[in-house]
Protein backbone atom coordinates (compact mmCIF):
# COMPACT_ATOMS: atom_id res chain seq x y z
CA UNK A 1 0.00 0.00 0.00
CA UNK A 2 1.09 3.55 -0.69
CA UNK A 3 2.19 5.17 2.62
CA UNK A 4 -0.09 7.81 4.14
CA UNK A 5 1.61 11.11 3.43
CA UNK A 6 -1.18 13.48 4.36
CA UNK A 7 -4.57 13.09 5.91
CA UNK A 8 -6.97 13.23 2.97
CA UNK A 9 -9.92 13.40 5.33
CA UNK A 10 -9.24 17.10 5.94
CA UNK A 11 -9.11 17.78 2.22
CA UNK A 12 -12.42 16.02 1.75
CA UNK A 13 -13.99 17.97 4.60
CA UNK A 14 -12.79 21.20 3.05
CA UNK A 15 -14.38 20.37 -0.27
CA UNK A 16 -17.62 19.08 1.25
CA UNK A 17 -17.97 21.91 3.74
CA UNK A 18 -17.05 24.42 1.09
CA UNK A 19 -19.78 23.10 -1.17
CA UNK A 20 -22.33 23.13 1.64
CA UNK A 21 -21.37 26.72 2.36
CA UNK A 22 -21.75 27.65 -1.31
CA UNK A 23 -25.15 25.95 -1.47
CA UNK A 24 -26.33 27.70 1.69
CA UNK A 25 -25.20 31.21 0.91
CA UNK A 26 -24.90 31.35 -2.88
CA UNK A 27 -27.51 28.80 -3.90
CA UNK A 28 -30.23 31.40 -4.46
CA UNK A 29 -27.85 33.58 -6.42
CA UNK A 30 -26.88 30.71 -8.70
CA UNK A 31 -30.49 29.79 -9.21
CA UNK A 32 -31.38 33.36 -10.11
CA UNK A 33 -28.47 33.50 -12.51
CA UNK A 34 -29.61 30.33 -14.23
CA UNK A 35 -33.22 31.46 -14.43
CA UNK A 36 -32.92 32.97 -17.95
CA UNK A 37 -31.52 29.65 -19.10
CA UNK A 38 -34.55 27.87 -17.73
CA UNK A 39 -36.81 30.41 -19.42
CA UNK A 40 -35.05 29.81 -22.72
CA UNK A 41 -35.47 26.06 -22.40
CA UNK A 42 -39.13 26.32 -21.42
CA UNK A 43 -39.97 28.75 -24.24
CA UNK A 44 -38.27 26.59 -26.84
CA UNK A 45 -40.00 23.51 -25.49
CA UNK A 46 -43.40 25.20 -25.44
CA UNK A 47 -42.91 26.60 -28.90
CA UNK A 48 -41.93 23.24 -30.37
CA UNK A 49 -44.83 21.51 -28.63
CA UNK A 50 -47.19 24.21 -29.85
CA UNK A 51 -46.14 23.64 -33.47
CA UNK A 52 -48.29 21.00 -35.19
CA UNK A 53 -46.51 17.68 -35.72
CA UNK A 54 -46.80 17.88 -39.50
CA UNK A 55 -45.20 21.33 -39.51
CA UNK A 56 -42.10 20.02 -37.73
CA UNK A 57 -41.88 17.19 -40.23
CA UNK A 58 -42.19 19.61 -43.15
CA UNK A 59 -39.60 21.91 -41.56
CA UNK A 60 -36.96 19.23 -40.93
CA UNK A 61 -37.54 17.49 -44.28
CA UNK A 62 -37.25 20.91 -45.94
CA UNK A 63 -34.00 21.64 -44.13
CA UNK A 64 -32.67 18.25 -45.17
CA UNK A 65 -33.55 19.06 -48.77
CA UNK A 66 -31.89 22.48 -48.58
CA UNK A 67 -28.72 21.01 -47.13
CA UNK A 68 -28.23 18.29 -49.75
CA UNK A 69 -30.45 19.09 -52.80
CA UNK A 70 -31.02 15.39 -52.97
CA UNK A 71 -34.03 13.20 -52.10
CA UNK A 72 -32.12 10.66 -49.97
CA UNK A 73 -31.61 12.61 -46.75
CA UNK A 74 -35.15 14.09 -46.75
CA UNK A 75 -36.50 10.56 -47.13
CA UNK A 76 -34.44 9.32 -44.17
CA UNK A 77 -35.57 12.29 -42.07
CA UNK A 78 -39.21 11.70 -43.03
CA UNK A 79 -39.16 8.02 -42.12
CA UNK A 80 -37.31 8.76 -38.86
CA UNK A 81 -39.85 11.37 -37.76
CA UNK A 82 -42.74 9.07 -38.69
CA UNK A 83 -41.15 6.41 -36.49
CA UNK A 84 -41.07 8.85 -33.55
CA UNK A 85 -44.71 9.71 -34.06
CA UNK A 86 -45.96 6.16 -34.65
CA UNK A 87 -44.11 4.78 -31.63
CA UNK A 88 -45.79 7.34 -29.39
CA UNK A 89 -42.50 9.10 -28.70
CA UNK A 90 -43.38 12.46 -30.24
CA UNK A 91 -43.72 14.55 -27.10
CA UNK A 92 -40.65 13.05 -25.47
CA UNK A 93 -38.67 13.63 -28.66
CA UNK A 94 -39.68 17.28 -28.73
CA UNK A 95 -38.63 17.69 -25.09
CA UNK A 96 -35.27 16.10 -25.83
CA UNK A 97 -34.93 18.24 -28.94
CA UNK A 98 -35.65 21.36 -26.88
CA UNK A 99 -33.00 20.41 -24.32
CA UNK A 100 -30.49 19.72 -27.06
CA UNK A 101 -31.25 22.96 -28.91
CA UNK A 102 -31.05 25.05 -25.72
CA UNK A 103 -27.79 23.40 -24.66
CA UNK A 104 -26.33 23.86 -28.13
CA UNK A 105 -27.36 27.51 -28.37
CA UNK A 106 -25.91 28.26 -24.93
CA UNK A 107 -22.76 26.31 -25.74
CA UNK A 108 -22.34 28.35 -28.93
CA UNK A 109 -22.84 31.62 -27.05
CA UNK A 110 -20.13 30.63 -24.54
CA UNK A 111 -17.72 28.62 -26.70
CA UNK A 112 -17.42 30.96 -29.66
CA UNK A 113 -15.99 33.92 -27.71
CA UNK A 114 -13.80 31.61 -25.62
CA UNK A 115 -12.47 29.91 -28.76
CA UNK A 116 -11.78 33.27 -30.39
CA UNK A 117 -9.86 34.57 -27.37
CA UNK A 118 -7.92 31.29 -27.23
CA UNK A 119 -6.87 31.66 -30.85
CA UNK A 120 -5.45 35.11 -30.18
CA UNK A 121 -3.85 34.69 -26.76
CA UNK A 122 -1.26 32.00 -26.19
CA UNK A 123 -1.37 32.32 -22.36
CA UNK A 124 -5.14 32.02 -22.28
CA UNK A 125 -4.90 29.00 -24.55
CA UNK A 126 -2.39 27.39 -22.22
CA UNK A 127 -4.81 27.83 -19.31
CA UNK A 128 -7.88 26.67 -21.23
CA UNK A 129 -6.46 23.50 -22.75
CA UNK A 130 -6.25 21.55 -19.44
CA UNK A 131 -9.63 22.96 -18.39
CA UNK A 132 -11.18 21.62 -21.59
CA UNK A 133 -9.44 18.29 -21.12
CA UNK A 134 -10.87 18.18 -17.61
CA UNK A 135 -14.38 18.99 -18.82
CA UNK A 136 -14.21 16.19 -21.36
CA UNK A 137 -12.64 13.47 -19.22
CA UNK A 138 -14.13 14.10 -15.78
CA UNK A 139 -17.03 11.61 -15.42
CA UNK A 140 -20.20 13.66 -15.70
CA UNK A 141 -21.59 12.22 -12.46
CA UNK A 142 -18.78 13.98 -10.59
CA UNK A 143 -20.07 17.42 -11.44
CA UNK A 144 -23.68 16.30 -11.61
CA UNK A 145 -23.80 15.92 -7.80
CA UNK A 146 -22.68 19.45 -6.89
CA UNK A 147 -24.78 20.94 -9.68
CA UNK A 148 -27.87 19.17 -8.33
CA UNK A 149 -26.97 20.28 -4.80
CA UNK A 150 -26.76 23.88 -5.90
CA UNK A 151 -29.75 24.03 -8.24
CA UNK A 152 -31.86 21.20 -6.90
CA UNK A 153 -33.12 18.45 -9.23
CA UNK A 154 -34.86 19.64 -12.39
CA UNK A 155 -34.21 20.97 -15.83
CA UNK A 156 -31.48 23.49 -14.92
CA UNK A 157 -28.88 21.06 -13.59
CA UNK A 158 -29.59 18.78 -16.53
CA UNK A 159 -29.06 21.69 -18.89
CA UNK A 160 -25.87 22.85 -17.16
CA UNK A 161 -24.40 19.36 -17.07
CA UNK A 162 -25.18 19.01 -20.78
CA UNK A 163 -23.54 22.35 -21.57
CA UNK A 164 -20.40 21.46 -19.61
CA UNK A 165 -20.16 18.17 -21.43
CA UNK A 166 -20.98 19.47 -24.90
CA UNK A 167 -18.99 22.74 -25.07
CA UNK A 168 -15.33 21.63 -25.29
CA UNK A 169 -15.36 20.41 -28.92
CA UNK A 170 -16.83 23.69 -30.11
CA UNK A 171 -14.24 25.72 -28.18
CA UNK A 172 -11.44 23.60 -29.59
CA UNK A 173 -12.69 23.69 -33.16
CA UNK A 174 -13.31 27.45 -33.06
CA UNK A 175 -9.75 27.99 -31.85
CA UNK A 176 -8.37 25.56 -34.42
CA UNK A 177 -10.43 26.96 -37.29
CA UNK A 178 -9.24 30.50 -36.66
CA UNK A 179 -5.62 29.54 -36.24
CA UNK A 180 -5.71 27.48 -39.43
CA UNK A 181 -6.75 30.41 -41.63
CA UNK A 182 -4.18 30.74 -44.42
CA UNK A 183 -1.46 33.11 -43.10
CA UNK A 184 -1.00 34.46 -46.63
CA UNK A 185 -4.60 35.69 -46.64
CA UNK A 186 -4.19 37.20 -43.18
CA UNK A 187 -1.02 38.99 -44.23
CA UNK A 188 -2.67 40.39 -47.35
CA UNK A 189 -5.52 41.64 -45.22
CA UNK A 190 -3.07 43.33 -42.86
CA UNK A 191 -1.25 44.92 -45.77
CA UNK A 192 -4.45 46.69 -46.76
CA UNK A 193 -4.64 48.40 -43.38
CA UNK A 194 -7.36 46.37 -41.67
CA UNK A 195 -7.97 46.61 -37.94
CA UNK A 196 -7.82 43.40 -35.88
CA UNK A 197 -11.61 43.53 -35.65
CA UNK A 198 -11.99 43.80 -39.43
CA UNK A 199 -9.69 40.82 -39.82
CA UNK A 200 -11.63 38.79 -37.26
CA UNK A 201 -15.07 39.47 -38.70
CA UNK A 202 -14.13 39.75 -42.36
CA UNK A 203 -11.50 37.06 -42.76
CA UNK A 204 -10.97 34.77 -39.79
CA UNK A 205 -14.52 33.89 -38.82
CA UNK A 206 -15.83 33.43 -42.39
CA UNK A 207 -12.87 31.19 -43.24
CA UNK A 208 -13.12 29.27 -39.97
CA UNK A 209 -16.87 28.80 -40.36
CA UNK A 210 -16.77 25.27 -41.79
CA UNK A 211 -14.59 24.17 -38.88
CA UNK A 212 -16.80 26.00 -36.39
CA UNK A 213 -19.82 24.28 -37.91
CA UNK A 214 -18.13 20.92 -37.42
CA UNK A 215 -17.82 21.95 -33.76
CA UNK A 216 -21.51 22.78 -33.58
CA UNK A 217 -22.24 19.37 -35.04
CA UNK A 218 -20.09 17.72 -32.37
CA UNK A 219 -21.77 19.76 -29.65
CA UNK A 220 -25.20 18.67 -30.87
CA UNK A 221 -24.18 15.03 -30.83
CA UNK A 222 -22.66 15.26 -27.37
CA UNK A 223 -25.73 17.02 -26.05
CA UNK A 224 -27.84 14.11 -27.32
CA UNK A 225 -25.43 11.66 -25.76
CA UNK A 226 -26.08 13.34 -22.41
CA UNK A 227 -29.90 13.04 -22.45
CA UNK A 228 -30.10 9.74 -20.57
CA UNK A 229 -27.85 10.98 -17.79
CA UNK A 230 -29.63 14.33 -17.77
CA UNK A 231 -32.97 12.58 -17.35
CA UNK A 232 -31.75 11.07 -14.07
CA UNK A 233 -31.84 14.53 -12.56
CA UNK A 234 -35.14 15.52 -14.00
CA UNK A 235 -34.72 16.45 -17.64
CA UNK A 236 -37.59 14.29 -18.93
CA UNK A 237 -37.86 13.40 -22.59
CA UNK A 238 -36.57 10.30 -24.35
CA UNK A 239 -33.85 9.81 -21.76
CA UNK A 240 -36.46 9.45 -19.07
CA UNK A 241 -38.17 6.70 -21.06
CA UNK A 242 -34.86 4.87 -21.33
CA UNK A 243 -34.32 5.30 -17.61
CA UNK A 244 -37.78 3.95 -16.84
CA UNK A 245 -37.17 1.06 -19.19
CA UNK A 246 -34.08 0.18 -17.19
CA UNK A 247 -35.85 0.65 -13.85
CA UNK A 248 -38.85 -1.51 -14.73
CA UNK A 249 -36.85 -4.00 -16.79
CA UNK A 250 -39.04 -3.11 -19.76
CA UNK A 251 -36.59 -3.80 -22.56
CA UNK A 252 -39.04 -2.64 -25.25
CA UNK A 253 -39.56 0.79 -23.68
CA UNK A 254 -35.82 1.34 -23.35
CA UNK A 255 -35.14 0.06 -26.86
CA UNK A 256 -37.74 2.18 -28.63
CA UNK A 257 -36.81 5.35 -26.75
CA UNK A 258 -33.13 4.58 -27.38
CA UNK A 259 -33.85 4.21 -31.10
CA UNK A 260 -35.68 7.53 -30.89
CA UNK A 261 -32.47 9.17 -29.64
CA UNK A 262 -30.60 7.57 -32.52
CA UNK A 263 -33.15 8.97 -34.98
CA UNK A 264 -32.73 12.48 -33.57
CA UNK A 265 -28.96 12.11 -33.73
CA UNK A 266 -29.05 11.01 -37.36
CA UNK A 267 -31.37 13.84 -38.36
CA UNK A 268 -29.34 16.62 -36.75
CA UNK A 269 -25.95 15.17 -37.58
CA UNK A 270 -26.65 14.70 -41.28
CA UNK A 271 -28.35 18.04 -41.76
CA UNK A 272 -25.62 20.05 -40.02
CA UNK A 273 -22.85 18.11 -41.76
CA UNK A 274 -24.37 18.72 -45.16
CA UNK A 275 -24.61 22.44 -44.48
CA UNK A 276 -20.94 22.37 -43.45
CA UNK A 277 -19.99 20.67 -46.71
CA UNK A 278 -21.94 23.24 -48.69
CA UNK A 279 -20.10 26.02 -46.91
CA UNK A 280 -16.73 24.39 -47.53
CA UNK A 281 -17.45 24.09 -51.21
CA UNK A 282 -18.40 27.74 -51.36
CA UNK A 283 -15.01 28.90 -50.11
CA UNK A 284 -13.15 26.29 -52.10
CA UNK A 285 -11.88 24.17 -49.26
CA UNK A 286 -13.42 20.97 -50.49
CA UNK A 287 -11.43 21.01 -53.71
CA UNK A 288 -7.69 21.29 -53.73
CA UNK A 289 -6.60 24.74 -54.68
CA UNK A 290 -4.16 24.96 -57.56
Amino acid sequence: MFPDVIDTKILRFWVDDGLTWVVRYWGDGFEAAAYPLLQLLISIERFLLWLPWWFIIVLLVGLAWLSTRNWKLPAVVFVGLLFLGVMDLWEDSIKTMALMITATLTAIAISLPVGIVMSRSQPFRRIMMPVLDLMQTLPSFVYLIPVVMIFGPGKIPALIATIIYASPPLVRLTDLGIRMVDPAVMEASRAFGTTPRQRLLGVQIPLALPTILAGVNQTTMMALAMVVIASMIGAGGLGYQVLQGIGRLEVSRGLFAGLGIVVLAIIFDRISQSFGKQLQARIGMAEKRT
Partner: protein, 348 residues
Protein backbone atom coordinates in the same frame (compact mmCIF):
# COMPACT_ATOMS: atom_id res chain seq x y z
CA UNK B 1 14.44 66.45 -45.82
CA UNK B 2 14.14 67.69 -49.40
CA UNK B 3 16.76 65.12 -50.37
CA UNK B 4 14.59 62.53 -48.66
CA UNK B 5 11.40 63.51 -50.50
CA UNK B 6 13.14 62.98 -53.81
CA UNK B 7 12.79 59.24 -53.34
CA UNK B 8 9.52 57.35 -53.38
CA UNK B 9 11.00 54.69 -51.12
CA UNK B 10 14.18 55.01 -49.13
CA UNK B 11 15.48 52.10 -47.11
CA UNK B 12 18.49 53.15 -45.06
CA UNK B 13 20.86 50.77 -43.28
CA UNK B 14 18.08 48.36 -42.42
CA UNK B 15 19.04 45.28 -40.45
CA UNK B 16 16.63 42.57 -39.37
CA UNK B 17 17.64 39.87 -36.94
CA UNK B 18 15.26 37.04 -36.02
CA UNK B 19 15.45 35.58 -32.53
CA UNK B 20 14.55 36.24 -28.91
CA UNK B 21 17.16 38.95 -28.26
CA UNK B 22 17.97 40.67 -31.56
CA UNK B 23 19.73 43.65 -29.94
CA UNK B 24 22.61 41.61 -28.53
CA UNK B 25 23.07 39.90 -31.87
CA UNK B 26 22.99 43.32 -33.53
CA UNK B 27 25.83 44.52 -31.29
CA UNK B 28 27.95 41.56 -32.36
CA UNK B 29 27.12 42.25 -35.99
CA UNK B 30 28.12 45.89 -35.59
CA UNK B 31 31.43 44.82 -34.09
CA UNK B 32 32.18 43.28 -37.45
CA UNK B 33 31.33 39.66 -36.86
CA UNK B 34 30.02 37.81 -39.88
CA UNK B 35 26.43 36.70 -40.25
CA UNK B 36 27.41 33.04 -39.96
CA UNK B 37 29.42 33.72 -36.82
CA UNK B 38 26.58 35.62 -35.16
CA UNK B 39 24.24 32.77 -35.93
CA UNK B 40 26.65 30.17 -34.56
CA UNK B 41 27.27 32.13 -31.35
CA UNK B 42 23.78 33.41 -30.51
CA UNK B 43 21.39 31.29 -32.56
CA UNK B 44 19.95 34.44 -34.10
CA UNK B 45 19.32 34.53 -37.84
CA UNK B 46 20.34 37.67 -39.66
CA UNK B 47 17.60 38.15 -42.26
CA UNK B 48 18.75 41.49 -43.60
CA UNK B 49 22.18 42.97 -43.04
CA UNK B 50 22.61 46.74 -43.43
CA UNK B 51 20.64 47.14 -46.65
CA UNK B 52 20.15 50.56 -48.23
CA UNK B 53 17.99 51.11 -51.30
CA UNK B 54 16.70 54.23 -53.01
CA UNK B 55 13.72 54.00 -55.32
CA UNK B 56 12.88 57.04 -57.41
CA UNK B 57 9.29 57.89 -58.34
CA UNK B 58 8.17 56.16 -61.53
CA UNK B 59 10.85 53.52 -61.35
CA UNK B 60 10.40 49.79 -61.52
CA UNK B 61 12.96 48.76 -58.95
CA UNK B 62 13.71 45.06 -58.78
CA UNK B 63 15.25 43.35 -55.78
CA UNK B 64 16.56 40.03 -56.99
CA UNK B 65 17.88 37.21 -54.86
CA UNK B 66 17.64 33.49 -54.33
CA UNK B 67 15.44 32.02 -51.62
CA UNK B 68 16.82 32.84 -48.21
CA UNK B 69 18.47 36.01 -49.44
CA UNK B 70 16.05 38.13 -47.41
CA UNK B 71 14.23 39.75 -50.31
CA UNK B 72 10.71 38.96 -49.11
CA UNK B 73 11.66 40.11 -45.61
CA UNK B 74 12.96 43.34 -47.08
CA UNK B 75 9.80 44.24 -49.00
CA UNK B 76 7.66 43.59 -45.92
CA UNK B 77 9.59 46.28 -44.08
CA UNK B 78 8.27 48.97 -46.41
CA UNK B 79 4.75 48.68 -44.97
CA UNK B 80 5.97 47.32 -41.66
CA UNK B 81 4.50 43.88 -41.94
CA UNK B 82 7.91 43.28 -40.35
CA UNK B 83 9.66 45.80 -38.11
CA UNK B 84 13.41 46.17 -38.59
CA UNK B 85 15.92 45.62 -35.79
CA UNK B 86 17.67 48.81 -36.80
CA UNK B 87 17.64 51.28 -39.67
CA UNK B 88 15.34 53.83 -41.23
CA UNK B 89 12.58 53.63 -43.82
CA UNK B 90 11.02 56.59 -45.60
CA UNK B 91 8.19 56.69 -48.12
CA UNK B 92 8.02 60.02 -49.95
CA UNK B 93 10.00 61.49 -47.07
CA UNK B 94 7.63 60.18 -44.37
CA UNK B 95 9.25 58.18 -41.61
CA UNK B 96 7.43 54.85 -41.72
CA UNK B 97 8.95 53.54 -38.50
CA UNK B 98 7.81 56.62 -36.56
CA UNK B 99 4.14 55.97 -37.31
CA UNK B 100 1.66 55.07 -34.59
CA UNK B 101 -0.62 52.10 -35.20
CA UNK B 102 -3.57 54.17 -36.49
CA UNK B 103 -1.20 56.18 -38.68
CA UNK B 104 0.28 52.98 -40.02
CA UNK B 105 -3.19 51.65 -40.87
CA UNK B 106 -4.05 54.87 -42.66
CA UNK B 107 -0.73 54.64 -44.51
CA UNK B 108 -1.41 51.07 -45.61
CA UNK B 109 -4.94 51.99 -46.67
CA UNK B 110 -4.05 54.98 -48.79
CA UNK B 111 -0.38 55.13 -49.79
CA UNK B 112 0.83 51.68 -50.76
CA UNK B 113 -0.70 48.57 -52.30
CA UNK B 114 0.84 45.12 -52.40
CA UNK B 115 0.67 42.03 -54.61
CA UNK B 116 1.59 38.68 -53.08
CA UNK B 117 3.26 35.55 -54.37
CA UNK B 118 0.50 33.36 -52.98
CA UNK B 119 -2.14 35.86 -54.14
CA UNK B 120 -3.71 36.24 -50.68
CA UNK B 121 -7.22 36.45 -52.10
CA UNK B 122 -10.23 36.05 -49.83
CA UNK B 123 -11.65 32.68 -50.87
CA UNK B 124 -15.15 33.41 -49.58
CA UNK B 125 -15.59 36.53 -51.71
CA UNK B 126 -16.30 36.96 -55.38
CA UNK B 127 -13.66 38.39 -57.72
CA UNK B 128 -15.18 41.86 -57.73
CA UNK B 129 -15.44 41.96 -53.93
CA UNK B 130 -11.82 40.87 -53.72
CA UNK B 131 -10.74 43.66 -56.05
CA UNK B 132 -12.81 46.14 -54.05
CA UNK B 133 -11.41 44.90 -50.73
CA UNK B 134 -8.81 47.62 -50.27
CA UNK B 135 -11.38 50.31 -50.99
CA UNK B 136 -13.84 48.67 -48.61
CA UNK B 137 -11.24 48.75 -45.83
CA UNK B 138 -10.68 52.40 -46.68
CA UNK B 139 -14.39 52.97 -46.03
CA UNK B 140 -15.62 53.68 -49.55
CA UNK B 141 -19.29 52.99 -50.31
CA UNK B 142 -20.37 49.84 -52.08
CA UNK B 143 -21.55 51.48 -55.30
CA UNK B 144 -18.39 53.51 -55.75
CA UNK B 145 -15.91 50.79 -54.86
CA UNK B 146 -17.62 48.28 -57.12
CA UNK B 147 -17.45 50.72 -60.01
CA UNK B 148 -13.73 51.28 -59.44
CA UNK B 149 -13.19 47.53 -59.09
CA UNK B 150 -15.06 46.90 -62.35
CA UNK B 151 -12.76 49.27 -64.19
CA UNK B 152 -9.63 47.44 -63.03
CA UNK B 153 -11.16 44.04 -63.67
CA UNK B 154 -11.66 45.16 -67.27
CA UNK B 155 -8.10 46.52 -67.40
CA UNK B 156 -6.51 43.24 -66.32
CA UNK B 157 -8.73 41.30 -68.73
CA UNK B 158 -11.06 39.51 -66.32
CA UNK B 159 -14.35 40.92 -67.61
CA UNK B 160 -17.09 38.36 -67.15
CA UNK B 161 -15.50 36.79 -64.09
CA UNK B 162 -16.77 39.43 -61.62
CA UNK B 163 -19.02 37.07 -59.69
CA UNK B 164 -16.73 34.01 -59.86
CA UNK B 165 -15.10 32.65 -56.75
CA UNK B 166 -11.28 32.93 -56.75
CA UNK B 167 -10.73 29.17 -56.50
CA UNK B 168 -12.54 28.66 -59.79
CA UNK B 169 -9.87 30.72 -61.57
CA UNK B 170 -6.46 29.60 -62.84
CA UNK B 171 -3.29 30.77 -61.13
CA UNK B 172 -2.69 33.44 -63.74
CA UNK B 173 -6.23 34.71 -63.42
CA UNK B 174 -5.98 34.73 -59.63
CA UNK B 175 -2.89 36.88 -59.79
CA UNK B 176 -4.70 39.24 -62.16
CA UNK B 177 -7.26 39.61 -59.38
CA UNK B 178 -4.40 40.34 -56.99
CA UNK B 179 -2.99 42.90 -59.39
CA UNK B 180 -6.39 44.53 -59.95
CA UNK B 181 -6.89 44.66 -56.18
CA UNK B 182 -3.61 46.54 -55.78
CA UNK B 183 -4.26 48.84 -58.76
CA UNK B 184 -7.77 49.72 -57.57
CA UNK B 185 -6.19 51.29 -54.47
CA UNK B 186 -4.88 53.98 -56.82
CA UNK B 187 -1.69 54.39 -54.81
CA UNK B 188 1.45 55.62 -56.51
CA UNK B 189 3.55 52.88 -54.95
CA UNK B 190 2.97 49.18 -55.53
CA UNK B 191 4.95 46.43 -53.83
CA UNK B 192 5.12 43.15 -55.69
CA UNK B 193 6.46 40.19 -53.75
CA UNK B 194 7.37 37.48 -56.27
CA UNK B 195 4.09 38.33 -57.88
CA UNK B 196 4.63 36.12 -60.93
CA UNK B 197 6.80 33.37 -59.43
CA UNK B 198 3.93 30.97 -58.82
CA UNK B 199 2.80 31.12 -62.46
CA UNK B 200 3.70 28.92 -65.41
CA UNK B 201 6.54 30.33 -67.56
CA UNK B 202 4.34 31.31 -70.51
CA UNK B 203 1.70 32.94 -68.30
CA UNK B 204 4.48 34.63 -66.34
CA UNK B 205 5.97 36.13 -69.46
CA UNK B 206 2.56 37.37 -70.54
CA UNK B 207 1.96 38.97 -67.14
CA UNK B 208 5.37 40.68 -67.31
CA UNK B 209 4.49 42.18 -70.69
CA UNK B 210 1.17 43.35 -69.34
CA UNK B 211 2.77 44.89 -66.28
CA UNK B 212 5.17 46.82 -68.52
CA UNK B 213 2.28 47.98 -70.68
CA UNK B 214 0.32 49.10 -67.63
CA UNK B 215 3.36 50.79 -66.19
CA UNK B 216 3.88 52.79 -69.39
CA UNK B 217 0.37 54.18 -68.90
CA UNK B 218 0.20 54.54 -65.13
CA UNK B 219 3.80 55.45 -64.28
CA UNK B 220 3.70 54.02 -60.76
CA UNK B 221 6.62 53.36 -58.48
CA UNK B 222 6.98 49.61 -58.30
CA UNK B 223 9.21 47.69 -55.93
CA UNK B 224 9.37 44.22 -57.39
CA UNK B 225 10.86 41.16 -55.72
CA UNK B 226 11.93 38.18 -57.76
CA UNK B 227 14.30 35.22 -57.76
CA UNK B 228 14.36 35.18 -61.55
CA UNK B 229 17.23 37.18 -63.05
CA UNK B 230 15.64 37.22 -66.52
CA UNK B 231 12.50 38.67 -65.03
CA UNK B 232 14.56 41.30 -63.22
CA UNK B 233 16.28 42.30 -66.46
CA UNK B 234 13.03 42.41 -68.36
CA UNK B 235 11.02 44.66 -66.11
CA UNK B 236 13.54 46.52 -63.95
CA UNK B 237 14.77 50.08 -64.47
CA UNK B 238 17.18 49.36 -61.65
CA UNK B 239 18.14 46.14 -59.99
CA UNK B 240 19.57 45.37 -56.57
CA UNK B 241 20.97 41.90 -56.11
CA UNK B 242 20.61 40.51 -52.64
CA UNK B 243 22.70 37.68 -51.29
CA UNK B 244 22.69 36.44 -47.72
CA UNK B 245 20.75 39.48 -46.58
CA UNK B 246 23.07 42.08 -48.10
CA UNK B 247 23.07 43.98 -51.39
CA UNK B 248 25.99 42.70 -53.48
CA UNK B 249 25.39 44.87 -56.53
CA UNK B 250 23.01 47.61 -57.51
CA UNK B 251 22.55 49.41 -60.82
CA UNK B 252 20.90 49.52 -64.22
CA UNK B 253 20.26 46.10 -65.77
CA UNK B 254 22.89 46.50 -68.50
CA UNK B 255 25.50 47.70 -66.02
CA UNK B 256 25.01 44.56 -64.04
CA UNK B 257 25.14 42.36 -67.12
CA UNK B 258 28.18 44.09 -68.57
CA UNK B 259 30.07 44.58 -65.31
CA UNK B 260 29.20 42.05 -62.65
CA UNK B 261 31.28 43.04 -59.63
CA UNK B 262 30.71 39.97 -57.54
CA UNK B 263 31.20 36.23 -58.15
CA UNK B 264 27.62 35.61 -57.02
CA UNK B 265 26.31 38.04 -59.64
CA UNK B 266 28.59 36.54 -62.29
CA UNK B 267 26.82 33.24 -61.86
CA UNK B 268 23.50 34.82 -62.72
CA UNK B 269 24.95 36.76 -65.62
CA UNK B 270 26.57 33.67 -67.11
CA UNK B 271 23.18 32.11 -67.89
CA UNK B 272 21.38 35.22 -68.95
CA UNK B 273 20.11 36.20 -72.36
CA UNK B 274 22.36 39.22 -72.80
CA UNK B 275 20.75 40.24 -76.08
CA UNK B 276 17.65 40.99 -74.04
CA UNK B 277 19.45 42.77 -71.24
CA UNK B 278 21.58 45.21 -73.20
CA UNK B 279 20.03 48.31 -74.72
CA UNK B 280 21.50 49.36 -78.05
CA UNK B 281 22.04 52.95 -76.94
CA UNK B 282 24.62 51.87 -74.38
CA UNK B 283 26.88 50.31 -77.01
CA UNK B 284 26.09 52.39 -80.14
CA UNK B 285 28.38 54.63 -82.15
CA UNK B 286 27.52 58.23 -81.37
CA UNK B 287 28.60 59.14 -84.88
CA UNK B 288 25.55 60.66 -86.57
CA UNK B 289 27.13 61.82 -89.84
CA UNK B 290 26.35 58.72 -91.88
CA UNK B 291 22.74 58.20 -92.84
CA UNK B 292 21.04 54.87 -92.27
CA UNK B 293 18.19 53.31 -94.21
CA UNK B 294 16.59 51.90 -91.08
CA UNK B 295 16.33 53.16 -87.50
CA UNK B 296 15.20 51.81 -84.14
CA UNK B 297 14.17 53.79 -81.04
CA UNK B 298 16.79 54.20 -78.31
CA UNK B 299 14.75 51.96 -76.00
CA UNK B 300 15.46 48.97 -78.26
CA UNK B 301 17.48 46.04 -76.97
CA UNK B 302 20.08 44.01 -78.81
CA UNK B 303 17.60 41.23 -79.50
CA UNK B 304 15.37 43.75 -81.28
CA UNK B 305 18.04 44.85 -83.77
CA UNK B 306 19.63 41.46 -84.43
CA UNK B 307 17.15 40.46 -87.18
CA UNK B 308 17.70 43.80 -88.94
CA UNK B 309 21.34 43.03 -89.60
CA UNK B 310 20.32 40.43 -92.15
CA UNK B 311 19.53 43.29 -94.56
CA UNK B 312 21.39 46.29 -93.16
CA UNK B 313 25.01 46.78 -92.23
CA UNK B 314 24.23 49.75 -90.02
CA UNK B 315 21.06 50.50 -88.10
CA UNK B 316 20.35 54.01 -86.87
CA UNK B 317 19.21 54.81 -83.34
CA UNK B 318 16.71 57.63 -82.75
CA UNK B 319 15.44 59.19 -79.54
CA UNK B 320 11.80 59.58 -78.66
CA UNK B 321 11.50 62.74 -80.79
CA UNK B 322 12.88 60.97 -83.82
CA UNK B 323 16.33 62.64 -83.80
CA UNK B 324 19.28 60.48 -84.78
CA UNK B 325 21.44 59.88 -81.71
CA UNK B 326 23.76 57.21 -83.12
CA UNK B 327 24.08 54.05 -85.14
CA UNK B 328 25.02 50.50 -84.50
CA UNK B 329 26.53 47.63 -86.46
CA UNK B 330 26.28 43.88 -86.14
CA UNK B 331 29.95 43.78 -85.25
CA UNK B 332 29.36 46.00 -82.21
CA UNK B 333 26.44 43.95 -80.99
CA UNK B 334 28.41 40.74 -81.33
CA UNK B 335 31.29 42.29 -79.45
CA UNK B 336 29.03 43.37 -76.60
CA UNK B 337 27.42 39.97 -76.37
CA UNK B 338 30.72 38.12 -76.56
CA UNK B 339 32.73 40.31 -74.23
CA UNK B 340 31.56 38.73 -71.10
CA UNK B 341 31.98 35.16 -72.30
CA UNK B 342 35.64 35.85 -73.02
CA UNK B 343 36.17 37.16 -69.52
CA UNK B 344 34.72 33.97 -68.15
CA UNK B 345 36.69 31.55 -70.30
CA UNK B 346 40.06 33.20 -69.69
CA UNK B 347 39.40 34.14 -66.11
CA UNK B 348 41.08 32.43 -63.16
Amino acid sequence: MSQREKYAIEIKNVTKIFGPDPQSALDLLKKGKSKAKVQAETGHVVGINDVSIHVEPGQVYVVMGLSGSGKSTLIRHVIRLIDPTSGEIYVHGTDVLGMSLPELREFRRTRIAMVFQKFGLLPHRSVIDNVAYGLEVRGIGKQERRMAAQRWIDTVGLSGYEESQPHHLSGGQQQRVGLARALSMDTDIILMDEAFSALDPLIRSGMQDELLKLQAELNKTILFITHDFDEALKIGNRIAILNDGAVVQEGRPEDIVLNPTDPHVEQFVADVNKARAIHVHTIMDVDVSESCEFSVPDTARCEDVLPLFADHEWVGVVDSEGNRVGRISARRVIKALARYHKAVTTGP
